[in-house]
């Protein structure tokens, strides 16, 4: 058997490390989606009338909408009535970590997330969303001292309704797409961050998402607002138990950067990818979009996507302010029967706007990995620039890599560049490393990490180490 074939045959066998489920008392709404579901969620969260109306409007839109049909895979059958739209660990309203269910703490310990205040000195503030509710937010007080608001979405609605009302749905309108509409109708929690004028957020803000309950979906909403001249770096991680049924994750993330503000948003996505035959796994249908609303503002997306049976997401930037810039750095790794259709949209509206897209796809097994991107230069966007580079790396010969770059140029002073490469992990490369005493498994991990280096370098230090490990784990057992 050639090395390539061996790579291929055994790629399927590696296990999902976070596949355990937590036996915890959960309050769960029976499956089904109708106005009553929405009213239940809204009442449960003690929401103001305007938000309930927002949700109901979204539900109406959702019912009117069709599934998207342009992606590079067949949409799976989804029965939206079979999903439970609200699941929460019982005993919420925690005042301190001592009140958190020990089972829950153990879960997060297993996931390597420390909620222990002692260890919190690592300088990352964490908001944890377990199924539908935010369980804990750390460092809240310390951040509040400098005016940074970092809390669960639910809390933001109660305590800062004016901010939520002002910005919610302004970047991703309720009718944007089917899943955004669904999210707007049923979102149960998520994270909220507001960085006031001129403040450089001194620590990384981090949200950790976990789906636990069976037959439940996760529909979180994240809203990050960087006021004039502020800076924030935001991290997001996610896992789910191994279950034979597919679970739906339909999140919406909205970022708003005002004049001279900068938002850096990093994601390490490791939802359960399903087993080697493609059974189970999370459907990850996510809408992420930021707007560089002010002049000289900047939004940067970095993502490492290794999980989910299907990933459908296009973190995008609307470059409205003059001299604003948008970046998208992505590594997407698919194996077994995984499908990833991911990329970005850079919408250049303002003058002298810049965007940069670096996408690295890695496909193994029978998986399919597509880059889909749109660079749109509008007529007022004089002297705008885009640089796009999308590379694909193939492991084995039964996987697919696809690239769908769209470019719309309506301004003759602007420049758009596009580069693309496709390569295979060469047997020569693996052999070369073997000859230096490195086994094939480590060799492949080394090559893959090298290939993804440019993107991994964009992640905050601690996250980069995690991502690097994750890429190695995801390819673990890839060679016999």
């Amino acid at each position: 058997m050639s090395k390539d074939q061996e790579l291929l045959e055994t790629l399927a066998t590696s296990e999902y490390e976070y596949g355990f489920s937590t036996d915890i008392e959960t309050e769960i709404l029976p499956p089904g989606l109708n106005e009553d579901t929405i009213r239940f969620i809204s009442a449960k969260k003690n929401e103001p009338e305007w938000l309930l109306e927002y949700r109901l409007k979204a539900l109406k839109r959702f019912h009117e909408m069709e599934k998207p049909d342009w992606q590079n895979f067949d949409f799976p059958e989804m029965d939206f009535q079979a999903i439970s739209y609200y699941a929460a660990p019982k005993k919420k309203q925690l005042n301190s970590l001592d009140e958190v269910d020990p089972e829950l703490l153990e879960t997060f310990a297993k996931l390597g997330i420390s909620l222990d205040e002692q260890k919190m000195l690592s300088g990352v503030a964490v908001d944890v969303v377990f199924d539908s509710v935010s369980v804990t937010t750390t460092f809240k007080e310390k951040l509040a001292e400098i005016g940074v608001i970092f809390c669960s979405f639910g809390e933001a609605v109660q305590e800062h309704p004016e901010l939520v009302k002002k910005y919610l749905g302004t970047v991703v309108p309720i009718g944007d797409n089917l899943f955004a509409a669904l999210n707007a109708a049923v979102f149960s929690d998520g994270s909220f961050a507001y960085i006031p004028k001129g403040v450089r957020c001194p620590m990384e803000l981090s949200t950790y998402f976990r789906i636990n309950a069976m037959n439940s979906g996760q529909f979180e909403r994240t809203l990050v607002i960087a006021d004039e001249g502020s800076y924030v770096s935001y991290l997001e991680g996610c896992t789910a138990p191994m279950r034979d049924e597919n679970q739906l994750h339909a999140a919406v993330v909205e970022l708003i950067a005002l004049d001279d503000a900068e938002i850096k948003y990093s994601t390490v996505q490791n939802w359960y990818p399903g087993d080697k035959d493609g059974k189970g796994g999370v459907y990850n249908f996510v809408t992420k979009r930021g707007i560089c609303k002010g002049n000289n503002s900047k939004i940067s997306w970095t993502q490492v996507e290794t999980g989910s049976s299907i990933t459908w997401k296009y973190p995008s930037v609307i470059l409205k302010g003059d001299n604003s810039s948008g970046e998208f750095y992505s590594v997407a790794l698919t194996r077994n029967r995984q499908i990833a259709d991911t990329g970005t949209k850079m919408i250049h509206l303002g003058k002298n706007t810049k965007s940069r897209i670096i996408s690295k796809g890695i496909s193994a097994g029978f998986s399919h990995n597509s880059y889909r991107g749109l660079v749109s230069i509008h007529s007022n966007a004089t002297n705008s620039r885009n640089f796009t580079q999308c590379d694909s790396l193939l492991i084995g010969d039964r996987c697919g890599a696809h690239t769908f770059p769209y470019i719309e140029g309506k301004n003759s002073t602007s420049i758009v560049e596009h580069e693309a490469t496709t390569s295979k992990i060469g047997e020569d490369q693996v052999f070369y490393l073997n000859q230096r005493g490195i086994d094939s498994e480590k060799a492949v991990a080394l090559i893959v990490n090298g290939y993804a280096r440019e993107v991994l370098n964009k992640l905050p230090m601690e996250f980069a180490v995690e991502a690097q490990k994750l890429l190695a784990i995801s390819l673990d057992g890839s060679v016999g």
Partner: protein, 252 residues
């Protein structure tokens, strides 16, 4: 140290090595010369364990251990090093990270503790001077964008770092200018000692002016048809490969 007995090997059904016999003792330098297509590089690849080559019969022992039974990485860990004729580029993997990984794998196999970063860097600086490799190249991606000469010197740097028992240099001299050749040769001369051995595969006698071999073997059509001392290389240089091939037909 190395014992090759009646080694046969073929690729895609075509027999390339037709019964190689070679014995290399510690402290020795052997040169293997031969015309294009005689099987020189095949021999190097088979010893290192490249997949495409099938071994028909014969055995190869490294310090008494059956080499052919081992995975390529274990052969390396046992102390076999191949300096590649065409070193491979690995984008994004820094030379230094690669060297550190390789060294710790080999040390772990031998039950040695991992070097501390400080020890590693000191060692690297030492060895780097040996091959006169610019330190900027150590931080660059492995072989990516290196000139031909830099790649070959980088092979010798790896050799110096990994300190193998037996090093095979596969046409390391090809594509080197005279200065690079001298640097490579002086590196090898500094690295040789009574505990290690070198097998130098080359087409030309040129390299052997700088690295003086104890034995010279001529490989032709998959067999070693003549062995001698360094004078054999000179004779070959003078008379050309035609001499040896006619000589060979004469014998047959």
């Amino acid at each position: 140290m190395l014992n090759i007995n009646n080694l046969h090997s073929s690729i895609e059904g075509k027999e390339i090595l037709k019964g190689i016999n070679l014995k290399v003792n510690a402290g020795e330098i052997h040169a293997i010369m031969g015309p294009n297509g005689s099987g020189k590089s095949t021999l190097a690849s088979v010893l290192a364990g490249k997949e495409e080559y099938e071994v028909g019969e014969g055995e190869v022992l490294l310090d008494g251990k059956d080499l052919l039974d081992m995975a390529p990485e274990d052969r390396a860990r046992e102390g076999l090093f191949l300096a590649f004729q065409y070193p491979i580029e690995i984008p994004g993997v820094s030379n230094i990270n690669f060297l550190k990984t390789a060294l710790s794998e080999i040390r772990a196999y031998r039950g040695l503790p991992e070097l501390t970063s400080k020890e590693f860097l000191t060692l690297l600086k030492d060895k780097q001077e040996l091959v006169e490799l610019k330190s900027s190249l150590v931080n660059r991606s492995l072989n990516e964008g290196f000139s031909g000469g830099e790649k070959k010197r980088n092979e010798i740097l790896q050799l110096a770092m990994l300190d193998p028992k037996l090093a095979i240099l596969d046409e390391t001299d090809s594509g080197l200018d005279i200065d690079a050749l001298r640097i490579v040769a002086s590196g090898v001369n500094k690295l040789r000692n009574e505990n290690n051995a070198f097998v130098i595969i080359t087409h030309y006698q040129r390299l052997l002016e700088y690295i003086v071999p104890d034995f010279v073997h001529i490989l032709y059509d998959g067999r070693i048809i003549k062995s001698g001392t360094k004078e054999l290389a000179l004779e070959l240089e003078e008379k050309g490969y035609d001499w040896i091939t006619q000589h060979e037909t004469g014998i047959v």
